[in-house]
Symmetry: C2
Subunit: 224 residues, 2 copies
Amino acid sequence: MVRTKAEKVKKAKPVRDAIATQAVILAAAEEEFAQHGLTAARTEAIAAKTGVAKSMIYYYFKDKEGLYRAVLERSHADLLQTVQNLDWEHLFPEVALEKFLQALLDCVSRNPKLPAMMFHEAIQNHGKYYKDSSSVDIDRISIAILERGVAAGVFRPLDPFQSAINIMGTCLFYFIGAGNIQQFPQGEQLLSPAMLQRHAEEAIALVLAGVRAPSKPIAPAEHE
Amino acid sequence: MVRTKAEKVKKAKPVRDAIATQAVILAAAEEEFAQHGLTAARTEAIAAKTGVAKSMIYYYFKDKEGLYRAVLERSHADLLQTVQNLDWEHLFPEVALEKFLQALLDCVSRNPKLPAMMFHEAIQNHGKYYKDSSSVDIDRISIAILERGVAAGVFRPLDPFQSAINIMGTCLFYFIGAGNIQQFPQGEQLLSPAMLQRHAEEAIALVLAGVRAPSKPIAPAEHE
DNA sequence: AATTTAATCGACAGACTTGTCAGTCGATAA
DNA sequence: TTATCGACTGACAAGTCTGTCGATTAAATT
């Protein structure tokens, strides 16, 4: 029975596996960068988490910044693709918004470190490494959905730009604030599946109720 | 005419003024810490912004951590006092929530770096320097307001704990995300008085609409 | 005017960090 | 079995950052 190289690699788990090593470095780096940001992250700390020598970071990713870029790219790939596959243009604004929020919350629940990374990037580096990245697209889509909803009269006459930001905050703050909230009884298991599920429901409910136009769109509540 | 020491200090602006020096150090430190967090902040960078020698930091604040604590304390004093003076217990839940949000947004508009500091603290240090600080109180008050509103039936049957977090996010994310949003046309003047005013209005409107129980409590809109 | 006290500075020691390098070791294939 | 190549390591050079110290000078006091 013939065994291909790939099979061997997968099953035998060889001592030296370039792909696996890069993967563990990326995983450890994501954790470190999410917590500390680019500058305060220590390559030594990343290496310590992986078990491989620190020099492997430089071997595979050139330098700390290269590793940072790689982590950022990988983290956003999922989010970007999910949101772009949304096909929101063919949906009613309310449905589009709900689907959008659901997709966003699924992504970040899957990878709860993403928001922290985004905010380090925003605050420390002013989005320097985001120039062509996903976050801009995501903002654009949410703004567009809101604009349509307002135009159609199913949403309040809100400011789409401001509201898009605020809605993001409603969904994502939870993941950032987690560290500060641990003083509360519930704070211990903030990232458990049950709590994540609950957070998604609450955030979506809050946003949908928050943007919806009051009472029926057919019979305007205003005078005239 | 007799001049007290204090008057002299204020008017003559002496070359050496301990209070003034500490103040400029605190201001510069706030900026640096807000952008970089405790670890990544550079004492040299702080000193450079002040114009006084780096050693003054150690003279007045012992070490970097001491300065950090001082900044954190000063930043929160305003917020804590404002929110505690709220007297929310004597107000209807809706009014209490609106006043609370208004107060919160006033504070952070006055000091837009506060949210960034809070989030560095949350993510990097897991709220280590917050143990007895204001943020916990603030969260408690917002939770209490929501609980009352739900009990009174004027708010939806939301989860007060989750919703308090999400509402904070709605209000504060704007100030953190600012760095990433600068790619947009509006992004340039995100912290101008007009935009801050607008943000406060939009955030409050979104939250109030988001928590309010649907239609009138007297005449239920549901079937039946 | 002389003396004391407090604020300030510049230089630097020591610790910590990044990134490099020479060389080891394991797998694959001739 | 041995040569080759890529994965991997430990030690270290170079640079950065914190925190200290003695000297210096402005203000207060006598």
